[in-house]
């Protein structure tokens, strides 16, 4: 058997594990930190892989595949699982014809997420086995362990992988692909139709499979027990926390369950007899700690470690020091360097820029949503005022509009939503808009159709075919909305700044439902290659209208022989979108091509 070693990210290692274990179908919806996972799966031609339109659909695609007996995997970021909860909670009652794995990318410390939910709780709630890798090698090994176990125990599996493990590289031993032929689908109501009273029997079956898996966990190869002779303290840690703990090289025994649910009660009750103290070290919720406590095992945990954020080696050391297990701290105290922040910003030539510059100047109330345009909540724009979850803006706008009108508040409401978010879950909000319309309603929706899922790195979406002929989805948002019965829908080019502004102002003044689809594609994915613009400092009056559009190349600077600060454009960064020249009140910003001519 050929074995090679490679350096892989956690995401790539999961893909590799799925390939080696004979996986046949993988689906996903892009979201940090698991975006690259499906992209890595796509490298294996033996596997059908797709980014689905949202997480719920992605899960359903994987359910269908599993029902046929194929080993199936669906991946998403932690909050994506919320979108998929409805099918998940019922599907997980079924007995798994083909091995099923849900990969959830958790984000302790919220490097790139809107909340910090610990999806181990969802895994338990949904009656799934939960694996928790801490390195690329573990990620691959756990995927290979989980799918056969899923079939053997009739148990849906979760791989809960944190952002650092997804995006970190490590050496991985590769193996060959095992062939796993699907058994096919044979109709059987007791397995695939979750209706009462079938579901009554399934409750017992779920309890039994969980107990059987917990028994298997006693000496399962992925649950490590490292005994230090004579030690009276046992530390329990898993995932990256376990790797961080190893850095301290402590004289205590360690139990590292690769599968954090179900834990082996037999093993833990045995360990209790051997140790004076058991300390659980885990990020976010006290999940394993609570599992131990349910077994009646006295242990410590969150009293020494933070309930939020990551637990680095120095945090573990600090906690164990407070717990009296260390007499001194070896890692030096460190004061973080305090310097000016660098928030992310819209790219040079980003089509969102003129839209939010206009909205900011209009001083209207704007319901935001999730995508690159979420950055409009930050300075320099501060032009959208709510942000909750994918597609939420449409319903939120309707609800606020209704009570505003009831209260006699006639101010207009604007809502922004990207095209990816529109297809993900915005459409249902639009379908709900015409129900109980009132003549006083005044809602203006801006659909930012940039042809891609930009925030996660440019994956395709329902309207990508407009710009990319190779893409098979080319849905026309105007036609969709017209078909729903929303008549006032128009496409407007936002790089014609004045046209877009005047159109928006006119629509905001009108009552009823207006939709403007902003047509420019993502500047990162579909590059603009126009001559760069430059500032004529002799004309510039230093008003900063251009600076306030917050484009990376634009800043104020001193010119020799000219008094006061004047605007400037770094030609190496400018792509020539022309928006700054359109907001300049004195015509000081010009395209370089004309200059040369």
């Amino acid at each position: 058997m050929v074995q090679t070693r490679k350096v892989l990210t956690g995401n790539e290692a999961v893909a590799r594990g799925f390939y080696e274990v004979g996986g046949l179908l993988a689906s996903s919806y892009p979201g940090s930190p698991t975006v690259e996972l499906l992209e890595a799966v796509k490298e294996y031609k033996e596997i059908y892989a797709e980014f689905s339109v949202n997480e719920k659909v992605a899960l359903e695609v994987a359910i269908g595949s599993s029902f046929y007996g194929a080993r199936s995997m669906v991946s998403m970021k932690h909050v994506g699982v919320n979108v998929a909860m409805d099918p998940l909670m019922t599907f997980t009652q079924t007995p798994m014809n083909g091995g099923f794995l849900l990969v959830t990318g958790d984000d302790p410390g919220m490097a790139s997420s809107q909340n910090e939910q610990d999806n181990r709780l969802i895994g338990k709630f949904a009656n799934m086995g939960i694996f928790y890798p801490g390195s690329s090698q573990e990620a691959k090994d756990f995927v290979k362990a989980a799918l056969p176990l899923s079939e053997e125990y009739g148990m849906p599996m979760m791989l809960d992988i944190t952002s650092r493990v997804c995006h970190g590289r490590g050496v991985v031993e590769e193996g060959e692909r095992e062939v796993h032929k699907p058994k096919g689908f044979t109709p059987d109501n007791t397995k695939y139709t979750m209706l009462p009273p079938i579901t009554h029997a399934r409750q017992y079956a779920m309890k039994e499979r969980l107990e059987a898996l917990a028994e298997y966990a006693y000496d399962a190869p992925f649950n490590l027990y490292e005994e230090v002779e004579g030690a009276k303290v046992l530390l329990i840690a898993t995932g990256l926390v376990y790797q961080n703990l190893l850095e301290l090289q402590l004289p205590y025994s360690i139990y590292r369950p690769g599968m954090v649910y179900p834990l082996s009660s037999r093993r833990l009750l045995e360990l209790r007899e051997q140790y004076d103290r058991i300390i659980v070290i885990e990020e976010m919720m006290p999940f394993m700690e609570n599992e131990l406590k349910l077994l009646g095992i006295t242990c410590e945990g969150k009293e020494w470690f933070s309930f939020t954020g990551e637990l680095h080696t120095e945090d573990i050391e600090e906690g164990l020091f407070k717990a009296g297990l260390l007499t001194e701290k070896r890692t030096p105290e460190m004061e973080k360097t305090s310097v000016v922040s660098r928030p992310p910003m819209f790219c040079s030539g980003c089509p969102h820029r003129p839209v939010f510059d206009i909205l900011k100047k209009m001083k209207v109330t704007v319901m935001g949503d999730i995508g690159c345009y979420s950055m409009s909540v930050l300075p320099a724009f501060e032009a959208s005022h709510t942000m909750i979850s994918m597609g939420a803006t449409v319903g939120i706008t309707k609800g606020m509009n209704k009570v505003m009108r009831m209260e006699g508040d006639e101010k207009p409401l604007v809502s922004v939503i990207g095209d990816g978010t529109f297809f993900h879950s915005g459409m249902t909000g639009f379908a709900n808009l015409l129900h109980q319309v009132d003549e006083k309603d005044n809602m203006t929706f801006i659909v930012l159709e940039n042809g891609t899922t930009a925030m996660t790195g440019g994956q395709h979406n329902g309207s990508s075919g407009k710009y990319d002929v190779a893409d098979d989805l080319h849905m026309d948002i105007q036609k969709i909305l017209n078909t729903m019965g929303i008549d006032n829908v128009q496409y407007v080019d936002q790089f014609d700044y004045k046209l877009f502004r005047d159109t928006l102002k006119a629509e905001v003044k009108k009552t009823g439902i207006s939709v403007i689809i902003a047509t420019r594609p993502c500047a990162l994915k579909f590059k603009i290659k126009e001559p760069h613009y430059y500032v004529d400092p002799k004309i510039c009056i230093g008003c900063r209208s251009c600076v306030k559009t917050n484009c990376p190349p634009i800043r104020m600077k001193n010119y020799e022989g000219i008094e006061g600060l004047k605007s400037s454009i770094d030609p190496s960064m400018c792509v020539g979108c022309s928006v700054c020249s359109q907001v300049c009140p004195v015509g000081a910003i010009k395209p370089s091509k004309i200059k040369e001519a």
Binding site: R164, V171, T313, V340, P344, N550
Partner: protein, 192 residues
């Protein structure tokens, strides 16, 4: 052998992921164990991003302890400054002098910390290099990160032929020669 720890700091869109990958692949090809944090930060452009690479006989966590880094590869001066607390006293900073101004500076709400960046030289060994200019001079403006890799390679126990093999595998095929030239230029760079 002690592990060698590198912090890589820059701005979203500067190519940190590929640079991290190339260094880790080179370490691995040299026969070392290696772990990385490819990138921490929002996946959108223009924001603070940073990562780490640890190489040695055996690496457990990819995270670097406070004051535990041997080298900061600063793709942008302010970002090198931001993570300087992670560096050992007397540690090495490779400082790409090409400045990228953050939003608070562009909006004149804050100033770019020129003095604090200059003061790094008091505590650390700082090698300043304008990687973009060097890349242009070497014949390919896009090879700025390869210039930096060439420079950092002087401080790592990885053979030159290993770097060449890895570069050949990971840079675009048509740009291999240009990147090898850029790598050599970075390696031969003499402090000004």
């Amino acid at each position: 052998m002690e592990n060698k720890n590198i912090i890589i700091a820059g701005v979203g869109g500067q190519g940190l992921v590929l640079a991290t990958r190339i260094i880790s692949e080179a370490a691995f090809a040299q026969g070392l164990d290696v772990k990385t944090n490819d990138v921490v930060g929002l996946s959108q452009r223009g924001g603070t991003v940073w990562g780490s690479i640890k190489m040695g006989e055996k690496v457990h966590s990819p995270n670097i302890l406070p004051k535990g880094a041997d080298i900061i590869l600063g793709m942008e001066p302010l970002e090198a400054l931001r993570w300087s607390h992670g560096l050992k006293d007397g540690g090495l900073i490779i400082l790409n002098t090409n400045r990228v101004y953050p939003t608070p500076v562009l909006l004149e709400k804050d100033t770019y910390p020129e003095e604090a960046i200059e003061k790094l030289k008091e505590t650390y060994e700082v090698i300043e290099i304008d990687a973009q200019e060097e890349a242009k001079a070497s014949g390919n403006i896009k090879a700025a990160n390869t210039i930096l890799l060439g420079l950092v390679s002087k401080y790592l126990d990885i053979e030159e032929s290993v770097w060449h093999d890895v570069l050949k595998r990971f840079v675009p095929k048509k740009a291999v020669e240009e990147n090898l030239v850029a790598f050599k230029r970075g390696k031969d760079y003499e402090r000004k």
